[in-house]
Amino acid sequence: MMAATGENMTQNSYNVSDINKRTLNIQHNLSLIKPLIRKTRYLAFNSKFTVDNLHMRGGSFSALVKELNTIVTDLESILNEVSHSAWEMAKSASKCQQMENQIAFYNRALFYTSQNKSTSISMLAYDLMKSKDWLKESPAEKQYQNSLFQKNTPEFTIWNVILSTRSEMIEEFERLFQYYRKLAKLVDKINWVAVQQINLIAITALVEASWTGFAKSNIPVLSNNIRAMARQITLVETNAINQLVDLHANLQPLETPIRSYNFQKRISA
């Protein structure tokens, strides 16, 4: 009989713990945008203040500042959604990890219990316990299940718990994928709102400033600062995108088995 080491708790083809860590990293990275947003808002306020204070012809510039404020507000709301999705995804990954551990313990129980049976059943249970890729229906699994069919044994009870836990885990993985897709869309949205729009506004503001005679005021400086903000947001967001790519690589081994998963939730005697 082998020693209880819990060595089969980590799968080869994917690692739920990595998925969890990467999700939290993305959330952390995107949260770095928040102070940048605050700074952008502050700069926008300063620009408006300058225009108002100088009593100059700043009508169109004020409109740009107003638009910038709207964008910053939108960005904050997207980031809140990101935060929610990443949190749900991390929660989902934790649940999957917990169920994966439970399955490992049930598999061990199944092997220990099967040792009282014939050598062939015991060996099949050993193969199942050592299997690193239980999301795919293995020949050992099929054979083991056939040996239990119509027999009301403890192995039968334990096997059904493994099947139902696995099925719950697949459902949880599906939820995790949904949150991942939502997260990817939100990151895309940040790219469009934060980088392209803010940058565009900063350029427009600069043009406006020189056009309307503010070239010697501090408005060009402010609009340059806004552009710098956009650049910083791009950097943070690029990091997040890279992590998202890594996360996708972590999730990929799961995609096909989950899509093609059609195992039974239970077998009946």
């Binding site: 020693a3 819990g6 439970q102 313990f105 220990y112 219990t113 009282n116 403890p154 334990i158 836990t165």
Partner: protein, 244 residues
């Protein structure tokens, strides 16, 4: 893990489960117990998550798993009940009884289910039509919410951590064979883990008049016949809460 029948009168059985050769050296050895009455089973301190696979395997030789309806956890320690979520997964209809003070702590072991609370004064369990399994308060021995279980039919007292011994791996006998020699494995444990002389003496007073032929702790060896009384005397005279 080995199993050993401690009592059997046809209707009621007590089974010891422990001394697991598969146990990792990193975890403390634990004793688990199964009471069966008219085919219905109850587990006393079913053990930690690491013990679960061996427990299920050994239990399945003693009773149909689905016939286990009740779990009693004497207190909150991980070696007592960290397997909780796995039991709920395996036996979804099982009822788990815990001291009320631990009612919202023990669910941190998972399972997402409401546990049954045991009041401070104790209670009796219904099992297979019987109503005589009685919980004896053992608060602060060692946990702040703690119970022993007395079976007047089998004359067995499950004492939880009271009477526990930290045995060297070479001593595998499940019964105490020489009480005087055995005390060396109990003294340190009781002095350190039991915090209150007053609580300890109250427990001794509660169980003194019970008719006990077997006293079954959660660690170490089981006390038989005269050793039960010897243990009570030894425990009463021990100054606990004094190991540091």
């Amino acid at each position: 893990m080995i199993s050993h029948e401690l009592y059997n009168d046809g209707a009621r059985r007590w089974v010891y489960l422990g001394r697991d050769p598969n146990k990792s050296d990193t975890i403390i050895d634990t004793n688990q117990y199964l009471i069966v009455h008219n085919g219905e089973g109850m587990l006393l301190d079913p053990g930690g998550i690491e013990t679960f696979p061996s427990m299920v395997s050994t239990l399945s030789r003693e009773i149909e798993l689905e016939k286990i309806t009740t779990i009693f956890a004497s207190h909150q320690d991980p070696d007592i009940i960290s397997s909780l979520a796995l039991w709920f997964g395996l036996l979804p209809n099982i009822e788990v009884y815990v001291p009320w003070v631990w009612g919202t702590f023990i669910p941190h072991f998972g399972g997402g289910r409401v546990l049954k609370s045991i009041p401070d004064e104790g209670m009796t369990f219904s099992l297979g039509g019987s109503n005589d399994l009685t919980l004896v308060p053992a608060h602060y021995c060692h946990s702040s919410g703690n119970f022993s279980l007395y079976d007047p039919t089998a004359k067995v007292l499950f004492s939880g951590d009271i009477g526990a011994a930290l045995l060297p791996p070479s001593l595998t006998d499940i019964f105490v064979s020489n009480f005087s020699k055995h005390t060396q494995f109990m003294t340190g444990f009781h002095k350190r883990w039991m915090p209150s002389n007053e609580a300890k003496n109250k427990w001794v007073h509660r169980v003194r008049d019970l008719n006990i032929t077997l006293m079954c702790p959660q660690h170490g060896a089981i006390f038989r016949d005269g050793d039960v009384k010897q243990f009570q005397d030894w425990f009463e005279n021990l100054d606990v809460g004094s190991a540091i």
